[in-house]
């Protein structure tokens, strides 16, 4: 299946930087199973002004199986991201995946998740509980506190 990843890589390179706003690129262009992207915190969210590295791993059976994505551990305070591991819970990358989607689509889906968290399927119970209670002040406060003390600025 690596041919498919190769095609995506060629297309990203051909399209140039403007079409690739998350700077999705393979960690090692000779490998193409490990990719990196940088997500800018969406405006109007507590993540605004921060940028977040995202690791994307392409399984052997890609694109029948979705890529797996992960933030570095303890960098992303978000209801659908496990704080200690950086694991992301996103339906697009599980049951909602179809092989016509690609790596760039997956990264965009994670970016959208930053702006639209889903407290119904939480991996960060603390933030999800606050979100469900509607305590936006505490919710935003915790996120900003975590980000301010995170090693990634």
């Amino acid at each position: 299946m690596s041919q498919r990843v190769l095609r995506e890589y060629r297309r990203l390179v051909a399209a140039g930087g403007a079409a690739n706003e998350s700077n999705l690129h393979p960690t090692d262009p000779a490998d193409l199973t490990h990719w990196e992207a940088t997500l800018e915190g969406p405006q109007g969210t507590p993540y605004e002004g921060h940028s977040f590295p995202l690791r994307v791993t392409v399984p052997d059976k890609y694109p029948t199986l979705p890529p797996s994505v992960c933030f570095p551990k303890r960098t992303m305070p978000h209801p659908n991201v496990k704080w200690d591991t950086g694991e992301v819970c996103l339906d697009t990358l599980a049951g909602g995946w179809t092989p016509v989607m690609d790596l760039q689509y997956a990264v965009m889906a994670v970016r959208r998740l930053l702006a639209e968290p889903n407290p119904e399927s939480p991996l960060n119970l603390e933030l999800a509980a606050l979100s469900r209670l509607g305590d936006h002040k505490a919710y935003d406060g915790i996120i900003k506190y975590r980000l301010a003390h995170s090693s990634i600025k």
Binding site: C89, T98, V100
Partner: protein, 202 residues
Amino acid sequence: MKLDIKRVNPVFTWSWDTRDPAAAKDRQYPFLYNYYPVDVEKAHLENGNAVDGDEDEDVCGICRASYNGTCPSCKIPGDSCPLVAGLCHHHFHYHCIFRWLDTNTSKGLCPMCRQQFQLNSKLPINRPYLEKFESITKAIRERVFLDEAFDGNSQQEEYGNEMPSDSGGTGQERRSADQSDLEEDEEEQEDSFYGHLDVNIE
């Protein structure tokens, strides 16, 4: 003057025609509409595209390779790596769509439009595969039905949902369980996939 023709070397080109069959009516040989050779140059003039470079050609949505090329596991295009056409007018390499439908995650849906993927039985190119697809989509419908019956979670059916609709840690457990199921299925599927290949493709 007298000419002796010693040898003739005919050269042909072909490409898959994935245009809407309804448009085939005004073509010369409507009964051949899926074998009908597209006027390659004309098609490319219409698209304003260069002839080579798979970026510009119609590609299979799953492997992103040209319809006129092969799926990643084949070498020779054409009859050994044919296209199939769904009722939803989405075309894929037979091997690509089969590999996808043979997973639980597919739920038997077209990867493009998420309708139930069914072959258009009227098209000659689909004919050798009708039974195969019928049986696999039936098997998948049963598996999905059982999954849902045991989950008791009807919300799982909302495919457009961005998130699995479970709450708390159980969702996570289920997800990883699904994941390992998937991997097992994938291995079995690999065998059955090539099994089907032997049956269908000589």
